[in-house]
């Protein structure tokens, strides 16, 4: 803390917010240690095998798998673009790092969505919870990404686990928000129709609301993945490995070349993941039906 005199010194008591936070984190580390160890083990067992699989497989196979996905979801043009982009990355020295970043992004996004979607459903069904959740989500989104890394280090030391967990927290808000939005946007008359025919709230959620909210929820999934990708690079600061390491190292050493190569790899990953997840949403029957209805009116 700096000791420069603030203009209000002496007028207002100084709030020891920083101290409180530190104390809370210390308390948590000491009492919740075993729980954190458990979480760390879970994350490790998720990331490790995926990381090994992606880095172990020949680059050609990975490129072809993505091209095939692209062909299925978006058509041959995108498949070709994905193949060229990933081929370019494979031709650069950081393929392994790219793959471990991909593994981290996938695991972090999956965990994030696992928390965000049910939370979004809960918040959509409960006005009070929604009011409570809003400022918390705002805080989570506006807090500088680095700040998440500090408690993560405290709880989990350095390495992949704090990186992934900080990513999970950072990327959750759009998942919650868009799930809530999607559910709230479902036509009131459709929900009432369910009620009028005697459906339970649970059935209305599963058979009416969720199918119709799915396109919006998929936009949330897309956003979560994009945020996770951006955070995973920052997580390089805590030694999470992958492209984050490459970029941090380039930054420290002012190596323009490797910095650019790492950056390009991130961009290619981002574009491919973004376009692929974006088109999954459009393939649901509800999404197609709603689009067709909108075009008519």
């Amino acid at each position: 803390m700096s000791t420069t005199a603030a203009p209000l010194d002496g007028v207002l008591p100084r709030l020891p917010l920083g101290e409180w936070t530190e104390r809370a984190v210390e308390w948590a580390t000491s009492t919740l240690g075993p729980a954190f160890d458990g979480i760390a083990t879970v994350v490790d067992t998720l990331v490790e095998p995926l990381n090994n699989l992606l880095t172990g497989a020949p680059a050609v196979v990975v490129v072809l798998v993505f091209a095939a996905l692209g062909l299925w979801l978006r058509g041959w043009k995108f498949a070709l673009g994905a193949a060229v982009g990933l081929g370019l990355v494979a031709g650069m020295p950081y393929w392994a790092e790219t793959m471990s970043t991909l593994a981290q992004v996938l695991v972090a996004s999956a965990l994030s969505l696992l928390l965000a979607v049910p939370l979004g459903v809960f918040v959509a069904e409960n006005r009070r919870a929604s009011q409570l959740a809003r400022p918390v989500l705002d805080l989570m989104q506006t807090l500088p990404a680095f700040v998440y890394l500090i408690p993560a280090i405290f709880f989990f030391g350095i390495g992949t686990v704090p990186g992934v967990l900080a990513t999970v927290v950072f990327s959750m808000p759009p998942g919650v928000r868009l799930t809530e939005l999607g559910l709230r946007q479902v036509d009131r008359e459709l929900v009432q129709a369910g009620e009028a025919f005697g459906a339970s709230p649970w059935k209305i959620l599963l058979r009416t609301k969720l199918p119709l909210a799915l396109p919006t929820i998929m936009t949330g999934v897309n956003q979560v993945i994009m945020l996770a990708l951006s955070m995973v690079v920052i997580a390089g600061m805590v030694g999470a490995g992958g492209l984050g390491d490459v970029i941090m190292f380039a930054l420290a050493q002012v190596e323009v070349g490797s910095g650019f190569e790492g950056g390009i790899a991130v961009v290619v990953l981002a574009v491919v993941l973004d376009r692929l997840t974006d088109s999954i949403g459009g393939r649901f029957p509800a999404a197609r039906a709603q689009r067709a209805m909108q075009q008519q009116s």
Partner: protein, 470 residues
């Protein structure tokens, strides 16, 4: 359509009974109800209660089994709120709703859901179909919720689809259907549920006029067959008059009048209703019984030619209407026939009664449908009640003057003041000569026919709904 007196072998109980129902939205509902109970107008009573809306105020009504009960009012009159309290989608602030004798207020959520599954289904203004499900799946939605096995669901949904005339479309998605067809799916969904009561919330308001007309007809046809109890919400007075066995008119949250279409037209409860009904096409609503006149020369077939002759002389007409056993209408006897019978010394008019000189209509025939009959009939048209008794007659000139007062500015002459229906219109009381035999000759009837088609505003050729994908 409306089956009176006995329903399913039981004496009438109301299908839905609503007693002094209130629905207040806002922070202090109880206080609002207390103030409104004094009967003050909505704005006055709620002054000083910020952000409080009284959607329904002191509404009481009974819906009889098998009738179409229409709730009519402009937007903001509370009709949609009212209908949503009938199946418990909204909870009343005060008052009670009973469905088949069960007070909804006493039901727990699960029991309320069961009641909706078993007794009441609903049709929505904007159809409320699931866009990602086929017509068949949408039609079977209620059955799916009720947990029926797939095969049975399919069978019953298909039956409902056939009823609304959408067979062949069952595998299409709602997006492939026109608006009218979509609402028929909505109707099929409600019919497939198999409930006795149907709530229809502005069900046809989103449709084009021609298609609306067609689906109204279809509803009436289905209703004649199925005899459901229907509560129909609309802001369209013509629709209300066309469909409703009885109509409740709502204004500012209150029900201002409940009655048949005719009662509301001929005897509006207040200025508001009167202004509201001012531009209705009355020829479609009013029936023969409301324009008919008392028949002046009626004799029993056994009364003999002398009585007939006296009737002719006293009323200065050239024809008498003849009734038989139980006052059933038999036909007419002209002057010539009467004198022939007198000469032959007959004791009865039997054998002299002609049926080809006069057309008969039922007392509930719409005025719009009388013109053709009047044109064809040599003598004034005979109006018969449900037991084929002669209830009245309609001379052409009466119809013409009624037409003038129904559609034009001129008032109806005082002497054919509120016509009462059938019963005591017995064959008695010869009175002053009427206009009935001033015999507007055949020629002007062509003009009349032309006038009437214009008045009725009918499209020349009925247009069928387009059955193609939009």
């Amino acid at each position: 359509m409306y089956l009176p007196a006995v329903f399913a072998g039981k004496a009438i109980v109301s299908a839905i009974a609503v007693k002094s129902l209130y629905k207040i939205f806002g922070s202090r509902p109880a206080e609002a109800v207390r103030r409104l109970k004094g009967g003050a107008p909505r704005a006055e009573a709620l002054a000083g209660l910020p952000a409080t809306t009284a959607a329904v105020i002191d509404a009481s009504l009974e819906v009889r089994p098998g009738e179409i009960f229409v709730v009519m009012g402009l937007s903001g009159s509370g009709k949609s709120t009212l209908i949503r309290m009938l199946n418990g989608l909204l909870r009343p602030t005060s008052g009670s709703v009973e469905v088949d004798g069960v007070d909804l207020g006493t039901l727990k959520p699960a029991a309320l859901r069961r009641l909706r599954r078993e007794k009441i289904s609903m049709v929505f203004q904007h159809f409320a179909l699931l866009p990602h499900r086929t017509v068949l799946e949408n039609a079977g939605y209620a059955l799916e919720i009720a947990g029926l096995p797939r095969a049975e669901r399919r069978e019953r949904a298909m039956e409902a689809i056939r009823m609304v005339g959408l067979d062949g479309w069952e595998d299409k998605l709602p997006q492939d259907l026109s608006g009218g067809m979509r609402q028929r799916v909505g109707l099929a969904r409600a019919l497939a549920a198999g409930t006795d009561i149907l709530l229809m919330d502005e069900a046809f308001s989103a449709l084009d006029p021609l298609i609306r007309r067609e689906i109204q007809d279809q509803l009436l046809e289905l209703q004649a067959e199925l005899g459901k109890t229907i509560v129909f919400i609309t802001h369209d007075l013509n629709e209300a008059m066309r469909l409703g066995d009885r109509i409740a008119v709502m204004r500012d949250g209150r029900i201002v009048q409940i009655g048949t279409a005719e009662e509301i037209l001929t005897d509006p409860a207040n200025d508001y209703v009167e202004r509201f009904v001012a531009d209705v096409d009355r020829t479609r609503i009013l029936t023969a019984s409301s324009v008919m006149e008392k028949p002046h020369s009626v004799v029993d077939v056994n009364a003999g030619p002398r009585v007939a002759a006296r009737a002719l002389r006293e009323t200065q007409t050239s024809v008498v209407y003849v009734t038989g056993g139980q006052q059933r209408f038999l036909g007419t006897v002209t002057e010539d026939e009467v004198s022939r019978a007198l000469r032959a010394g007959r004791q009865s008019l039997d054998g002299h009664v002609r049926t080809d000189h006069v057309r008969t209509v039922r007392h509930d025939t719409a005025v719009a449908d009388l013109f053709g009959e009047c044109a064809e009939s040599v003598h004034p048209v005979a109006v018969l009640d449900d037991r084929d008794r002669l209830a009245g007659v309609i001379p052409r000139i009466t119809l013409l003057s009624a037409l003038g007062s129904l559609t034009g500015e001129t008032d109806r002459p005082d002497d054919d003041a509120p016509p009462s229906l059938v019963d005591e219109a017995g064959p008695d009381l010869p009175a002053a000569p009427s206009a009935m035999d001033l015999g507007v000759a055949g020629a002007p009837m062509a003009d009349l026919a032309r006038v009437t088609t214009e008045v009725r505003g009918e499209p020349v050729a009925p247009t069928r709904e387009k059955e193609e994908t939009a």
